[in-house]
């Protein structure tokens, strides 16, 4: 073994730049590139629209519609495809894809024992938390963006880049329709952010990746279940599951902002306490395992 350089100067004499949230964020994104679950989630995001378009093609000759929003327009404009996927993806697909990383990002470090490795470096705990939370949110944004973009491309290849009929019956041009699609995806991120927060909370509390991922999905499904239970109709506007439909306000003429505004505060009502809990648990917890 070769010699080690003499440590230079005392501790107080050091003049080095301290790392920050950006360093954690960059390395969390880098680490995601090497994990199977990343590709599982992003792969599903890309694959589902393609499968959906293939299914439309097979159904095209049998009937021309269904009993959900945009169903009758599916074969007339490819821009409808991402909107229909948003409609159905809220049930389990997007919460699951989001939870794959949000539920795992702290728990896997606990399980592998790497949390103690990073906590003994020069970063404060809040910086590590912030970097990881941002990385989990970024993953969710990328998953939604990939899904939407693949759906637009696949849909347009199948049904054409044509004008779209809004929910109030007015027809908007294809470019305007495309703008509405991406705005819808953007506002869809509001409830998705809440799912990220719930995933982070379960990840820090359970310290178990599988439990956190499944738990996040279960919470999402529980909201869906409450929404369909008889006698609980009054709770519907305040359920997380309902906020996944807030983007539909954009597809009305004029735009109906009320579901979007409600989604913002209802999601904050669920998301902020979940994120706060995750933060406090991570900040105060003993790291004894691993």
């Amino acid at each position: 073994m070769s010699a080690v350089a003499q440590p230079a100067g005392g501790v107080s004499e050091r003049t080095r730049s301290r790392p920050g949230v950006g360093a954690v964020y960059r390395w969390e994104l880098f680490k995601l590139r090497f994990q199977k679950r990343t590709y599982l989630g992003l792969g599903a995001s890309a694959l589902v629209p393609i499968i959906f378009v293939v299914a439309i093609q097979f159904r095209h000759h049998r009937d021309n519609g269904g009993d959900f929003a945009f169903a009758s327009y599916l074969t007339k404009s490819g821009l409808v495809v991402p909107l229909v996927i948003l409609l159905f993806g809220a049930v389990w697909m997007f919460p699951l894809i989001t939870a794959l990383v949000a539920g795992d990002i702290f728990a896997s470090e606990d399980h592998n024992g790497t949390l103690k490795t990073v906590l003994t470096r020069s970063l404060e705990r809040w910086q590590i938390f912030a970097g990881k939370a941002l990385a989990a949110a970024t993953y969710a944004v990328v998953a939604i963006a990939i899904n939407g973009t693949v759906a637009v491309v696949a849909g347009c290849l199948e049904s054409g880049f044509n004008s779209v009929q809004t929910l109030t019956g007015t027809i908007v041009s294809a470019p305007k329709g495309l703008e509405l699609v991406y705005l819808s995806l953007l506002f869809y991120l509001i409830p998705i952010a809440t799912v990220v927060c719930i995933g982070l909370m379960l990840s820090t509390i359970t310290r178990n990746s599988a439990a956190a991922v499944v738990g996040t999905l279960m919470v999402s499904l529980l909201f869906q279940l409450i929404g369909i239970l008889p006698g609980l109709g009054a709770t519907q506007p305040y359920l997380l599951s309902t906020q996944f439909n807030a983007w539909q306000g954009l597809l009305r003429q004029p735009i109906d902002w009320s579901p979007i505004i409600r989604a913002v505060w209802v999601c904050a009502l669920y998301g902020v306490p979940a994120l706060g809990t995750a933060f406090l648990v991570f900040l105060r917890r003993d790291v004894a395992g691993g």
């Binding site: 073994m1 070769s2 010699a3 080690v4 350089a5 003499q6 440590p7 230079a8 005392g10 501790v11 107080s12 050091r14 080095r16 730049s17 301290r18 790392p19 360093a23 954690v24 960059r26 390395w27 880098f30 680490k31 090497f34 994990q35 592998n112 024992g113 790497t114 103690k116 490795t117 990073v118 906590l119 003994t120 470096r121 020069s122 970063l123 404060e124 705990r125 105060r284 003993d286 790291v287 004894a288 691993g290």
Partner: protein, 323 residues
């Protein structure tokens, strides 16, 4: 709280622990630890399994919160800020890394979490632990010994003044243990203060100048190994022409204690002056000396005497502090 290092007079001691307690419900894993590691020490932290060594090291590194008491590293509290860990590096239990990244990537990640000058030390650290040739292999394929060495490399990125190592040689083969021992010795020779916990008493005896011996969460001895041996007294073996009479003489002789027959020979504890007077008394009593030889007391002997049985090492007994 933080006192200037008595040995060097150059600022706070690298490690200063006072009244440290960690309770898990009814169980006190650490039950009131006081210790000081001085600059330049290679400090052994010894104790049987479950004595609270790792828990104590975790508190020193800020991984778990003490129930009571304080830890100061160079005068700073690791519970308050990660800045307290500036100049401090180490690992508890086995060092852990991201198995899907290669060794170099792991070090790059940790260097990014240390500050930008740490990155410039990656090659040097890999060379030091002789892992440069495997740096591009995924850590998932590393042996235990390689991970231990990568753990040391990760610690060196921080240009440490203090290394806290938990069982650094555990699980290594004899060659790996030797290499680890040499590495720690070399780092210590270069001015890095080292605190290590270990089960390997021969290793500690060879490497460390000072030790703390813990039992059930309490320190039963803290100080220099040489002082521990001195206070324990020298043990002698004696064989004479009349052992029965010699045993009686030993028991009556001032300065001689713990005289007993062990494996057919008399064993007793005494200092040099008492041994000289004893030899004269034996001759006068007609018990001519065949063998009178000192027995080497190892750290292991002392460790067991302090951590087993109910004697001086009882959990309630006050710690012996020397040196």
């Amino acid at each position: 709280m933080a006192e200037a290092d008595a040995r060097t007079g150059s600022g706070p001691a690298p490690v200063e622990v006072r009244g440290l307690v960690k309770r898990y419900g009814e169980l006190a894993a650490v039950a009131g630890i006081d210790l000081t590691v001085h600059a330049g020490d290679v400090y052994g932290y010894l104790g049987p399994n479950g004595a609270g060594k790792t828990t104590c090291l975790r508190m020193m590194l800020g991984l778990i919160r003490p129930t009571e008491g304080t830890v100061r590293l160079f005068g700073r509290d690791p519970q308050e800020s990660a800045q307290a860990l500036d100049g401090v590096a180490g690992f508890v239990e086995a060092p852990t890394f991201y198995p899907y990244l290669n060794g170099r990537r792991n070090l790059e990640l940790l260097a990014a979490f240390d500050g930008e000058d740490a990155r410039t030390r990656i090659d040097e650290a890999l060379d030091t632990v002789e892992l440069a040739h495997r740096a591009k292999d995924r850590v998932g394929g590393y042996s235990h010994g390689m991970r231990q060495r990568l753990g040391i490399a990760a610690a060196l990125l921080r240009n440490p003044k203090l290394l806290l190592l938990d069982e650094p040689a555990t699980g290594l083969d004899p060659a790996g243990m030797r290499d680890m021992r040499l590495l720690i010795r070399r780092l210590a020779d270069q001015g890095i203060t080292v605190m290590l916990s270990s089960h390997l008493l021969a290793e500690v005896e060879e490497l460390c100048n000072r030790v703390a011996i813990v039992r059930t969460g309490r320190i039963v001895y803290e100080g220099a190994i040489s002082e521990l041996k001195r206070t324990a007294g020298a043990t002698y073996r004696l064989s004479t022409t009349d052992d029965e009479r010699a045993l009686a003489v030993c028991r009556a002789q001032p300065g001689v204690s713990d005289a007993r027959v062990v494996q057919g020979r008399i064993a007793f504890t005494a200092d040099d002056a008492a041994v000289a007077e004893l030899s004269q008394a034996l001759v006068e009593a007609g018990a001519l000396i065949r063998i009178l030889a000192p027995e080497h007391v190892t750290l292991e002997d002392l460790f067991f005497s302090l951590t087993e049985g109910d004697g001086a090492a009882s959990a309630e007994a006050p710690a012996v502090v020397a040196g």
